[in-house]
């Protein structure tokens, strides 16, 4: 069984089409209608980043546009975990 593709910031990503986001004071809830997993997104900036992914050629560009330089590696790690959970996928 192969898992979802590993996160590569050089590729184009998007919020998975079967994932719904519901904004909350701490960030958002992301719910995946296929695997029925719920993910607590614990930063409003991360939510902004997920919504921005589709507008950029690569995930790396989206991170650069949305996140301050000092914080980028943390956000890329978060995207990596979200890719593994299929909250985001390659478009």
């Amino acid at each position: 069984m192969t898992g979802p593709p590993a996160f590569d910031p050089g590729r184009p990503w998007r919020l998975h089409p079967r994932v719904a986001l519901r904004e909350e004071p701490f960030g958002a809830l992301a719910y995946h209608y296929d695997n029925r997993r719920l993910v607590f997104l614990k930063a409003p900036r991360l939510v902004e980043l997920l919504r921005a992914l589709e507008r950029f050629e690569t995930a790396g560009e989206a991170v650069a546009a949305v996140v301050d330089p000092g914080a980028r590696s943390g956000y890329e790690q978060a995207l990596s975990r979200l890719a593994a959970a299929q909250v985001i996928d390659v478009r």
Binding site: L29, Y31, K42
Partner: protein, 418 residues
């Protein structure tokens, strides 16, 4: 619910919200909710824009009369939401992005519009996880459910043997549940759940129940017996003993794949925390809508004192969730009360609101089944005091209006009908 730290799949099994994880830009070792003192748990305790998980009892009508029924179901309430009103509730939930509802009753399949309503909910992005006693399931119904996009089913059974189960759920109910499981398994429905209320009499059957689930490719879900509804009448006889609680705790630790609805968090005081947020979600992340549209903070406390409003009011469910004083009260920081001096408070958070409420225990004190012996049971304060039970009930009655005792048998002609 589970909110284990950060890991990608496989994340801890959980219900009522299902498997969950947390992701943030912070260090990946940060504990979010599972375990002790999670920052996310503290934030969830202050409430959300909408419930994560909403229990919707569709009808008080039931063709069984389980002795521990927490909603005291039996008779349909004449004020039950009409099909149009029920669809309007779905519209409201969809607008609030409630991702799914846990549908129960009563027996939800006894609602004439059951399938229409499930179709309507799924079509509006509100997933349905429903609980059934299985008696009304037919081959055609199972195939219809299997064809739906986002429906989960769980069949209730309270023992690995007919004898254990039927003493609680009624003669023939074990056979009916097994028949329903056979139909689901044979219909291509996929993974369904087998839902068990843990009692003194079935603790020893947990392994056999897990095996039953395995044979069907089903998921086992076990939940805590609560002294709610008719459960108050039998709680003294059916709740697990202190020794059994330790067995259940260890069994759950050994079987992290078993779903619990986060219902055993009072056991976390025994050691390492169980899967889940270990938080009472009443009014904060969960609530209940009953068949007549009343909204209660806790799925296990159908009582005037926890009623927050009604979906028929102006503003509907949203106004109740966001504006009710009852909910606001539950979302304010809670005092640990008599538990403050106990080193395990952070693990168990004082236990279950429903268990305390219906045993007459102070809500800011220990759970009656406190595993460290601080609760009412530890002081031998049973049987339950009279007068704490809910006045709201739909149990079957005789012509004199007296409640009929005991479970009732499955009427097979009815069960086999289409």
């Amino acid at each position: 619910m589970s909110a284990d730290a950060l890991g990608p799949a496989p994340l801890g099994p959980a219900a009522p919200v299902g498997p969950a994880s947390t992701v943030g830009p912070g260090p990946s070792g940060e504990s979010a909710g599972a375990g002790r003192g999670g920052a996310l748990r503290d934030r969830l305790a202050l409430g959300l824009q909408a419930p994560i998980c909403l229990t919707w009892e569709l009808t008080y009508a039931c063709n069984l009369a389980c002795v521990h029924c927490l909603s005291s179901s039996g008779r349909r309430d004449p004020g039950e939401l009409s099909p149009a009103e029920a669809r309007s509730v779905v519209d409201q939930l969809a607008a609030m992005q409630v991702f799914y509802v846990n549908v129960g009753g009563g027996e939800p399949m006894l609602r004439p519009d059951f399938f229409d309503l499930v179709d309507y909910a799924v079509g509006h992005g509100v997933g349905v996880k429903f609980s059934t006693n299985g008696t009304r399931l037919t081959g055609a119904a199972a195939r219809r459910l299997a064809a739906m996009d986002y429906v989960d089913a769980q069949v209730s059974i309270d023992g690995a043997t007919a004898a254990t189960n039927d003493a609680v759920r009624g003669p023939g109910s074990w056979r009916a549940a097994r028949r329903a499981m056979d139909l689901l398994a044979g219909s291509g429905f996929g993974t369904f759940k087998i839902s068990v209320v843990v009692t003194r009499h079935n603790v020893a059957e947990l392994d056999a129940l897990a095996e039953m689930a395995g044979q069907y490719g089903a998921q086992l879900r076990v939940t805590r017996l609560r002294p709610s509804g008719r459960g108050a009448d039998v709680w003294g006889d059916l709740h697990p003993t202190a020794e059994q609680q330790r067995i259940v705790y260890q069994w759950l630790r050994d079987h992290p794949e078993v779903l619990t609805g986060d219902s055993f968090f009072h056991l976390s005081a025994l050691g390492e925390p169980l899967e889940g947020l270990n938080l009472c979600g009443a009014g904060r992340v969960v609530c209940l809508v009953d068949p007549v549209g009343d909204v209660y903070a806790c799925p296990f406390v159908i009582d005037e004192r926890f009623r927050a409003g009604n979906v028929r009011q102006p503003g509907g469910f949203r106004a109740v969730w966001l504006e009710s004083e009852r909910f606001a009260e539950l979302r304010r920081p809670q005092s640990a009360g008599a538990c403050a001096s106990c080193g395990s408070y952070d693990a168990c958070r004082g236990g279950c609101l429903a268990a305390k409420f219906f045993t007459g225990a102070p809500l800011d004190g220990p759970d009656p089944e406190c595993v460290l012996g601080h609760g009412a049971l530890g002081h031998g304060a049973l049987p339950l005091p009279s007068g704490v039970g809910s006045a709201i009930g739909h149990s079957r009655v005789d012509r004199q209006g007296r409640r009929l005792p005991g479970p009732i048998p499955v009427r097979w002609r009815e069960a086999a009908g289409s």
